[in-house]
Subunit: 507 residues, 2 copies
Amino acid sequence: MSKQERTAITPTRDQDYPEWYQQVVRAAELAESSPVRGCMVIKPWGYAIWENIQRELDDMFKATGHKNAYFPLFIPISYLEKEAAHVDGFAKECAVVTHHRLEMGEGGKLVPAGELDEPLIVRPTSETIIGETFAKWIQSYRDLPLLINQWANVVRWEMRTRLFLRTTEFLWQEGHTAHATEEEAVEETLKMLDVYADFAENWMAVPVIKGEKTEGERFPGAVNTYCIEAMMQDKKALQAGTSHFLGQNFSKASNIDFLDESGERTLAWTTSWGVSTRLIGGLVMTHADDDGMVIPPKIAPSHLVILPILRKDADEEAILNYCRDIKQEIESKTYHGRRIWVEIDNRDIRGGEKMWSWIKKGIPTWIEVGPRDMESGSVFFGRRDLGPKGRKGISRQEFIDGFIDTLDAIQDSILERARDFRESNTVTIDSKEEFYDFFTPKNPDQPEIHGGFVMAHYSGEPELEEKIQSELKVTVRCIPQTDSPEPGTCIFTGKPSKQRVVFAKSY
Amino acid sequence: MSKQERTAITPTRDQDYPEWYQQVVRAAELAESSPVRGCMVIKPWGYAIWENIQRELDDMFKATGHKNAYFPLFIPISYLEKEAAHVDGFAKECAVVTHHRLEMGEGGKLVPAGELDEPLIVRPTSETIIGETFAKWIQSYRDLPLLINQWANVVRWEMRTRLFLRTTEFLWQEGHTAHATEEEAVEETLKMLDVYADFAENWMAVPVIKGEKTEGERFPGAVNTYCIEAMMQDKKALQAGTSHFLGQNFSKASNIDFLDESGERTLAWTTSWGVSTRLIGGLVMTHADDDGMVIPPKIAPSHLVILPILRKDADEEAILNYCRDIKQEIESKTYHGRRIWVEIDNRDIRGGEKMWSWIKKGIPTWIEVGPRDMESGSVFFGRRDLGPKGRKGISRQEFIDGFIDTLDAIQDSILERARDFRESNTVTIDSKEEFYDFFTPKNPDQPEIHGGFVMAHYSGEPELEEKIQSELKVTVRCIPQTDSPEPGTCIFTGKPSKQRVVFAKSY
């Protein structure tokens, strides 16, 4: 540590990225491992970010005509069997409920009793159970489109888990819609992809690439899967949201049919789309730095913390009143239609420790207020994106008047920083050799940050993709949406390629 | 049906109350049974009521200093074993996860595989799992009080289920708090009871009696359980929310201790409190009538539906514009700090059917708008609490100007109606004979609505309560909170009684 500055998080990103991630999640009090294998506890600060994500997305879903509903946690095994691709994808890793009672057994230990006739699984996703219900709700073309969303917990039994990124239980939303025509269903699939991209960029300040998945990366049972892909600071990709065009696959499996306008019985076309608490992991890996979390103001649980500096008893009440007035003035404003939340941190701990605890939590702004600040009608003001070195004294009134602009400036600056990072780590590659070299660590004995997004021509064979994955741990992240695809030649096979695709290592 | 009016719901409350309930839930599109035994599907209109309940309660919880967090769905069996009373209460009826995979077995059927070393149960309530976490979070008196709430789904395996009232899976919130002293924990328990009573009366228009449960009705593991009890229209009681003072029972079980100000290690005092989607069942049984649901305006998903009467093509666009203007003017207002939602129902179905569909759903107000209304600048206006016979033509402007007052008047009138109903069905009884007579159906061969709330003196022996329950299906609903308890003599034993308690049949 001799040559470099001390950081609030140890190790730094460069030293050990995966461990840095865990330490940021811990230091920012976002989540922790629970005593239940693979399940996490989402702590209040982390959960408040999720509540803000929910609120914004929910408004967007409602603005696009969707309504929320709630479907059962349990799915009978026989439902899974109805859709062949789906069962292959989800039967592997699920929690199976086989009994409905516990009894006291030998040695005072509880044992399962009351075996079920048909085991149930805890939903890993709800296409099959919602499909059964849609089949009842949909009778005629007048019942379409049916646009439903569910906020829920889901369970996928994972062997290796990481907080937010991959946990056995996680929270998400799953949209499920049914339409009279293929065109409408495709339009819905792409509309929700746009909603996700809009939310990621304009609320989470996470730039994303919209595109289509290759066959091998499709949702089990989908005709097409679309996704938004973001670049993390270790240059890997994170799939931040997916939108699936399911064709008539699930309509066939669950018999979702309707009488069309000409009186013919027809199968509906369905879609599903979801984002999860994984987004919070994406936030950390996009914005956090070696001093801890950085939260975009538009989804921050608190926007400002006021740190009163209480040196002498005599000042105390006057300073606190000065702080309370500032809190009140700031909270009387709104920020993009939402309430602004201000904390006054009056804990009896050292000033430095207190400031750093908020820096680690990623609060967008803070002010320190001591007796001299009060006397001169000013505040000592820090921005999380600029760090403690960027602190400066400014007049109280200037601070208050400029507060909304400050939040917008922070939001813009961290989006810009993330976009710059992605752009400077995205390369165009036209040969297989260069491709393999780019994705090969230079020091195989030690983990290091390398790689990035590679834009390359590729002819689309699933076997080829498997080979690249097994050799380099690199996959096609998506075939980007573009109005002007430029054809070329696959760098692996020399066959024709319609457009460049995005290759990367990924979470 | 000869002598009586036709009603939108068949049967009526008087004819068959339990069936009337199911038919209202169905006709109002609140929920339906799912293909999974004991689990319900909460439909969009019912879920929107739940979202409004959540929003209001969540604001109340936050205003009283609580923060939301999220804990695992699964609880290891061994956790339950730690609190003896708790395991007796909850091990009986729970979903047990024993495997984490499905494999293709004989005949192409999926079978459970990957047996777990320790089975998990799906949380029926979270005291034990949250207690384990609290033990880690709480080290010193500075960490207290810890005030946490969780919005979640829970599972209790029920043999007989009824939509909203008793389902295997339901949605709820569970507050869990830890305190340094007994006094503080008791104060918290009672504070949250007040929050529930305030919410029930002032938002749901459901009058409640606040009180303490007797020993036999306590939450398994609690020192005291407090509740709010409401009277349904069949004169039975519904427990609408509970708040538990847990003493140090769960602190002992999970080892939640802290260093107090004098440096001594001390066990914390904890509480828990919850309400669930059961509240929606309570809303139905408090307010709905023989024409369907009645939703209190303060938690209604929509406040007004506009029914355009489109007789001739020529009028259509003009009438729709007239409707849209009204919608816009009404939606520009706010109602108790919340958005107002207005629907325009432009479906191509008969006007009468359309109006009745909204009456059954319980929308607080509706207006019909035809060519003549438009010409005269008026609307034909109906209030759900007054029914279709109360409809009247009034000027458009008068309708708009008075809209908020109208909503308040409806909210007040249904609360008043419910309060009157409870009062006229609450009696004071001073003899055992009269008590038994009051709770005995007059026609044992046919279900009938009888009984009510009985205020009687009672000396408190658990065996006596069991006897009354087995003979009459009547229990002590609560020992009401009162500042001036009037002592008396138990009507069953002649022993002294501190105050009258509330007896009733219940859900």
